[in-house]
């Protein structure tokens, strides 16, 4: 990895965002909607379950932003005709995607905070955190794990112009399988195994353990196990994404098919 390339991609993504920040709106709407629906369904807005709903909504906010911003950034290169120069530069495509994903993760954090804020101001949920330091740490870890899934999905965008369809299909499964709003214990057992293989599932569990008093872990794990699993799976997903991006990059350079329409 080349840190300079990662930093440059981070800065480039920041400039893109600042010049046209309105695109944060679509990615924040669906998590806000889901949280609002859950809070409307709970008629009594007190107690730990409501806190879980708000925290889950925050995680969904991070995911929506990470998914769309990170993976679509390659699509915009395709539209703008900058994908070819990007592939011809000596930097690895993984560095560029990772730099962009880091910026998007940072903005994703603001999405989460917005969900907390709206829940507080509109629904008066009175959220209080059990361990604020651990909460923040686990939230950041979860965010990184979501960013890595965004990087993995970006392989589809490098490979094909149809990547956007793949990304839109990935939005809801993570909402369901990560256990952010609904515990994975109520899912069919086959789906629960898929949930265990996703790093955000462990991250969400850790966030809730750090924030909600009396919360029972979805996997029966304690905080350390959750954190270890998030880190392990995040690294694993990153290595898979890096391997795939390298293979795809080499293949499209050989076949000259990067911007074929």
């Amino acid at each position: 990895m080349r840190p300079r390339a990662v930093v440059a991609a981070f800065k480039q993504q920041a400039i893109h965002f600042i010049s046209d920040p309105q695109w944060i709106i679509p990615s924040i709407l669906s998590p806000l909607l889901f949280t609002a629906v859950m809070l409307m369904l709970y008629r009594d807005l007190t107690g730990p379950v409501v806190l879980q709903a708000v925290l889950g909504g925050g995680v969904l906010g991070m995911w929506a932003n990470t998914l769309f911003s990170s993976s679509y950034s390659i699509s915009f290169d395709r539209y703008n005709g900058t994908l070819e120069p990007l592939l011809l530069s000596p930097s690895e495509i993984t560095d560029i995607v990772a730099g962009r994903a880091l910026w998007n993760a940072l903005i994703g954090l603001s999405n989460a905070l917005l969900v907390f804020l709206v829940s507080e101001l509109v629904f008066h949920t009175e959220v209080s955190l059990l361990d604020p330091v651990m909460f923040f740490l686990t939230l950041v870890l979860t965010l990184v794990s979501l960013a890595v899934i965004g990087i993995l999905l970006s392989t589809a965008f490098v490979l094909s112009r149809m990547g956007s369809v793949v990304a839109s299909m990935a939005e809801y499964p993570i909402y369901v399988l990560s256990g952010a709003l609904v515990p994975i214990t109520i899912l069919p057992s086959g789906l629960q195994y898929i949930s265990y293989a996703l790093p955000p599932t462990w991250g969400v569990d850790a966030v809730k353990l750090a924030a909600v008093e009396g919360y029972q872990s979805m996997m029966g794990a304690d905080m350390l196990v959750d954190i270890a699993m998030v880190i392990l799976l995040t690294v694993l997903y990153f290595l898979i994404a890096r391997f795939l991006l390298k293979r795809i990059e080499r293949r499209i350079l050989e076949t000259g098919s990067s911007t074929v329409y």
């Binding site: 709106i25 709407l29 909607l33 369904l41 539209y79 299909m169 369901v176 609904v182």
Partner: protein, 266 residues
């Protein structure tokens, strides 16, 4: 003479949009996307309703609501973003310089999304019946199908109205997202409209989707079309109103964009 010209424009715009859409995304992937998104949306809210166990909101209640919601996303959102996409790919000025009315051109381009809305309705109702245990045994299938078709047409009016703004602004996608998502919160898809504060209930009853959801629930419960005339009349009236407003809005924003040179501005 003029109506035959409009039909020609409608037809060629439709053909153009079909070719464009399926050149980039094959039909099988488009259908797969619709099936996956419909399933997980329905599954997510069904699981939520099951977990929350609110006595007013059964899983069946949420599943039927989300079947109608899949129609709304396909029609309102997809139709609304058509002018913005033309602007993004740089073909809006060329389209605007033809003698055809932009309203007719974009309506023609939106027909594929109306068909998509019918397909989404069929897929969602199949899921509702086969996977989520919604019983259609006492339901009136003809009424359900008719309500879905009328809902697609009415909601297209909403999409066209939002889409017209895309001529003037940088994009209509942001406004389309806001209207589509906030609209879904206000129309009784996942919880009764009565849960909303009174001032929001007024907005809910200005949304054709509210009546579409009400009529669909009635049809699944066995009501004939004649019994559903009240929500259907309200939904169709709003649909016609939104179409009329969108016709004027297209003319207004087309003129404004041409005068201020914002047709291709980003």
């Amino acid at each position: 003479m003029r109506s035959s010209y409009s039909l020609q424009v409608l037809s060629s715009s439709f053909r153009n949009s079909v070719v464009t859409k399926f050149t980039v995304t094959p039909v099988w992937l488009w259908l797969l996307n619709m099936m996956v998104v419909s399933f997980f949306t329905m599954f997510f809210f069904a699981a939520l309703a099951d977990y929350v166990s609110n006595p007013d909101v059964s899983v069946e209640y949420v599943v039927i609501g989300n079947a109608v919601q899949s129609v709304a996303v396909t029609t309102v959102y997809s139709v609304a973003t058509v002018p913005g996409i033309q602007k993004h790919v740089g073909t809006l000025s060329s389209v605007a310089s033809t003698p055809a009315s932009l309203f007719t051109v974009f309506l023609g381009m939106g027909i594929i999304n109306i068909i998509g809305g019918f397909a989404a309705a069929a897929v969602s109702m199949t899921y509702a019946s086969l996977l989520f245990g919604v019983s259609f045994a006492s339901g009136n299938i003809l009424s359900v199908a008719s309500v879905m078709v009328l809902a697609c047409l009415s909601l297209t009016g909403v999409g066209m109205m939002i889409g017209s703004i895309g001529l003037y602004l940088r994009t209509s996608e942001i406004i389309a997202s806001v209207v589509a998502y906030i609209g879904l919160l206000l129309c009784g898809v996942n919880f009764p409209v009565s849960y909303l504060p009174e001032w929001l209930q007024v907005l809910a009853y200005c949304n054709p989707m509210t009546y579409a959801v009400e009529a669909t629930r009635g049809a699944v419960a066995g009501a004939a079309l004649a019994d559903l005339w009240e929500p259907l009349a309200a939904m169709m009236s709003l649909g016609v109103l939104f179409f009329a407003v969108s016709w004027f809005a297209f003319r207004l924003f087309e003129r404004l964009a041409a005068r201020r040179g914002t047709m291709e501005s980003f």
